[in-house]
Amino acid sequence: MKVLIPVKRVIDANIKVRVKGDQSGVETSNVKMAMNPFCEIAVEEAVRMKESGAAEEVIAVTVGPSQSQETLRTALAMGADRAILIETDEVLEPLSVAKLLKVVVGNETPGMVIMGKQAIDGDNNQTGQMLAALLGWSQGTFVSKIDGAGATTNVTREVDAGLETVTLKMPAVVTVDLRLNEPRYASLPNIMKAKKKPMETVTPADLGVDMTPRVTVLKVTEPPARDAGVKVADVAQLVDKLRNEAKVI
């Protein structure tokens, strides 16, 4: 079976984001970009499936500006076989991204789509569920274990109360959580090899998808700041402050 891995280019998770002075968004020029950490986990899982023989081909896909090629090259260096860039400078909303991915799924006919549960920029946590809905496929969200890939697959989901196991009828969309695996670092030889792997570029218009946003961002502002308080000398003083000053215990 083929496995499709949608990935996203975001501001590197280790960079502190800065809100722009004109409140139009966050500063992205001259800021280090990287693959969304949840997408790395999805790539790793798909590559492991290929290594174990459960998957025959791993296809990475992204939606974004031409620089998103770098993110696809990272996926290829980690072990994906080929890549598709859906190139656009439009605002990316989960619904329109899911519509684009639906067309790619129709063209590529993967047996499973594995993707991050959310991207750390918009924090929407929607695209996988939306893609599953548009395809009429089963969805396994916030997954920390994938077990088997035949006519059905069992996945373990991280839910608020603990863990839940569900059986998904295949094909399925799986969105991954942090504890599914530990993504590998691409080795230098694999980074070199990745440069020669095939990458196709298409546009939303080629795929017949309207990218008109449904949501207008009116402004982006700094969150309310929280001031550092005081240091206490010892536990006795801490308990005294909590009892008599903050009155919370």
Partner: protein, 310 residues
């Protein structure tokens, strides 16, 4: 137009998060209806009817809704949503799983995890793990929204008297089936609703040291939480995790023990009223948000705290 809140429940009572979602709905214009989907929901529908401000409870009691399978519940939302201006659910793992599926079927761009309501079509939501706040306006005719529970103080569970209307099920989609649940059992308060939370991080060094934390928790009637580092290291299970990708909490008192204060963790607790940090590293970023900081080895401080609380 009315507002529909998708309830989360255990067949006898509504989840506390649903009362937060109703509080958000109360800031919009229109009557509030609650949707209960489940199997054997008669008594929870009656409990839901007592929620203040709710005028109608839609009770979808059918076998296909027994295990909160998104593929089964989403078609129900698609069927009822067109009669409403807004459909809200709490941003729990239930809401996050079900709502986007319904939104896509309705061709609606969902607004995730709102923390503020400016008007019926304009909402505030955290992005970049809460490092920026976006004010967004939706142009969809029905607005599907998930609600950050800590941003809206829960309404009471009693005081209302809504009518209950039974609605029929939409059938089993035949896609996903429930197998099992592995739920942590605890006599302590639930993490997301506890008045006091005490969390341990990588500084705890091992899951075997968590009883030090639990003993203090029991004296304060507090819930126990953990940082992502502690969960990833296997000290405690995933349902303890406080942070951007775990649970978001805002108790009256949050005590962070052996937690450095990664952005990811701060996103899950920085709206707490009082924050206490106990860490042996004076430079740990957690001290920048703490009201009271104690620079100390936690293996000295926790037993001392336990003793001080008697």
């Amino acid at each position: 137009m009315s507002i529909l809140v998708v309830a989360e429940h255990d067949k006898s009572t509504l989840a506390s998060a649903t009362y937060n979602a109703v509080a958000a709905a109360a800031q919009l214009s229109g009557d509030i209806h609650l949707l209960i989907a489940g199997s054997g929901t008669g008594s929870v529908a009656e409990a839901a009817a007592k929620t203040p401000g709710v005028t109608k409870v839609l009770n979808a009691d059918a076998a296909e809704y027994a295990h909160d399978i998104a593929e089964n519940i989403a078609p129900l939302l698609v069927q009822v949503a067109p009669g409403y201006s807004h459909v809200l659910a709490a941003a729990t793992t239930f809401g996050k799983n079900v709502m986007p599926r319904a939104a896509a079927l309705l061709d609606v761009q969902q607004i995730s995890e709102i923390s503020g309501i400016e008007s019926d079509d304009t909402f505030v939501r955290p992005v970049y793990a809460g490092n920026a706040m976006a004010t967004v306006q939706s142009s969809d005719s029905v607005k599907l929204i998930t609600v950050r529970t800590t941003a809206f103080e829960a309404v009471a569970a009693e005081g209302g008297s809504a009518e209950i209307e039974a609605i029929s099920g939409t059938g089993d989609a035949g896609l996903s089936t429930f197998v099992s649940q592995d739920i942590s059992q605890s006599d302590r308060p639930e993490l997301t609703t506890a008045r006091i939370v005490i969390s341990g991080g990588r500084g705890m060094k091992s899951g075997e040291n968590f009883p030090l934390l639990e003993s203090v928790a029991d004296k304060l009637n507090a819930a126990v939480g953990a940082s992502r580092a502690a969960v990833d290291a296997g000290y405690v299970s995933n349902d303890f995790q406080v942070g951007q990708t775990g649970k978001v909490v805002a108790p009256d008192l949050y005590i962070a023990v052996g937690i450095s204060g990664a952005i990811q963790h701060l996103a899950g607790m920085k709206d707490s009223k009082i924050i206490v940090a106990i860490n042996n590293d004076e430079e740990a970023p957690i001290f920048q948000v703490a009201d009271y900081g104690l620079v100390s080895d936690l293996f000295d401080a926790l037993p001392a705290l336990d003793k001080e609380l008697g």
